[in-house]
């Protein structure tokens, strides 16, 4: 059955309002949409980060489902433990039924600090879904660079100034790193295409074994954009092929969306204050380098997926 908002809207809201995320936060949209895909009992584990902090300010919690936060580096290890405990109790006949396990982490808690625990959990083959909401920096602590921060983006630890034009490195390709663990399912998504994203979460939850979704999430504070455009800006990331939507199912790459007309990366960077310095004429070579990198990654992806677009089957 195709996903439909009217049906989804009848389900209970699992994340209560009253959380302290910024007005117009893109990450919380990504979390909320992921939870729309959940059916039946679920346990959520969270790495330290914006969403952990803003949804659990004592004495309040926004979680209407079982939730566990441990530390920055071990969301995947923690959910591994929960999943293993559940399996053990079930085997002993002390608990019945089925349960789903989801770990969330930001790009700081996934690309950087939690990478070893994620890698371990994927290798051990726990039955869980890991969702990385990727806003491309440590937004919670004041916009420090992470290994997901785009090329030339200005952050407080890679500031754009007279000498340095923002972050010097390209982000690492975490989705490919996860796929290299030969997990049954890994995908990239964006909340603007909710049908694709929610479909991917549903699909991942239905698969037994470790699954992974890397979802782009805007942060108007860090990206220096307007809060109202939180959805437009991630859409533009997809239309410029900076953030392609694809999935890797048992090693097979599938392209889920192909822009009718691939927009130049300038269309994406010119609307974000973190790239403002790049628009200077003297940085034209850097813009070209950025574009060349996007083109190269996109071509490499098309090589793996083929040109054919395959929608996510739910």
């Amino acid at each position: 059955m195709a996903l439909n908002l009217k049906e989804l809207s009848k389900k209970p809201e699992l994340l209560s309002p009253g959380h302290r995320a910024c007005a117009g936060c893109g990450s919380v949209i990504a979390i909320r949409q992921a939870l729309m895909a959940v059916e039946g009992p679920v346990v959520v584990g969270f790495a330290t980060g914006c969403m952990e902090v803003s949804t659990t300010i004592y004495p309040y919690t926004s979680w209407r489902i079982p939730y566990i936060h441990d530390a920055f580096e071990n969301a995947a290890a923690t959910i591994s433990g929960v999943e293993t405990a559940f399996r053990s109790l079930k085997k002993q006949g002390k608990i019945k039924g089925d349960m789903k396990f989801i770990a969330f982490g930001g790009d700081g808690g996934t690309y950087d600090i939690g990478l070893q625990s994620l890698s371990g959990a994927l290798e051990r083959g726990h039955d869980f879904l890991y969702i990385c909401y990727n806003n491309g920096a440590y937004m919670n602590t004041g916009i420090q660079r992470s290994s997901a921060t785009p090329f030339c983006a200005a952050t407080t630890t890679s500031p754009a100034g007279e000498v340095v034009p923002g972050k010097a490195q390209f982000p690492k390709d975490l989705t490919a790193i996860v796929a290299a663990h030969h997990v049954p399912y890994a995908a990239q998504a964006s909340p603007h295409n909710w049908r694709d994203y929610i479909g991917k979460v549903k699909k991942a939850l239905a698969i037994e074994g470790p699954t992974f979704i890397n979802v782009i999430a805007s942060c108007f504070r860090g990206w220096r954009t307007e809060p109202t455009t939180s959805i437009d800006i991630v859409k533009m990331a997809v239309e410029t092929c900076f953030w392609p939507l694809y999935e890797v199912e048992n090693g097979e790459y599938k392209l889920n969306y192909k822009p009718k007309e691939k927009l130049p990366i300038e269309e994406w960077i010119k609307v974000q204050g973190r790239f403002k310095h790049l628009l200077d004429e003297k940085y034209k070579p850097l813009r070209e380098e950025f574009q060349a990198n996007v083109d190269q990654e996109w071509a490499a992806l098309l090589e793996k997926t083929g040109d054919q677009v395959q929608k996510v089957a739910v």
């Binding site: 809207s9 309002p17 009253g18 007005a23 919380v28 926004s62 109202t228 959805i231």
Partner: protein
């Protein structure tokens, strides 16, 4: 928001929060500088606003857009920006009295008309 934070004697052992989702009691609506208002004549109940709202503050009743939860809506304006038919208008909190809206933010000048619902 509570007027007085509970003292340590009132807290559960271990600081357990025994009410899941109790952030609902925390009204983030007072952060708002502008509030969304709905023109029900234009609204096609596509629920794009609902799926993109970061605060779960779009009220949906029987598959129809019913208005806004002003207790929690932070006024980010994503709903107005993503609405495909411009049925949502942001109004500065200072000028709220100038527009006739009901408590859910539906404009009174635009009662829903049959046949307009697509």
């Amino acid at each position: 928001m509570s007027d007085q934070a509970p003292g340590w004697k009132d807290l559960p052992i271990g600081g357990v929060i025994d009410h899941a989702g109790n952030s609902f009691e925390y009204e983030t609506g007072d952060w708002r500088a502008a509030r969304p208002t709905l023109d029900k004549n234009k609204c096609i109940d596509c629920l794009q606003c609902w799926v993109f709202c970061p605060d779960g503050s779009i009220l949906v009743e029987d598959e129809k857009m019913a208005g806004f939860d002003y207790q929690h809506c932070k006024g980010c304006g994503i709903c107005a920006h993503t609405c495909p038919v411009d049925a949502i208008e942001m109004i500065s909190e200072e000028k709220v009295g100038e527009v006739e809206i009901d408590e859910w933010g539906v404009k009174k000048s635009s009662p829903p008309e049959k046949g307009d619902q697509g």
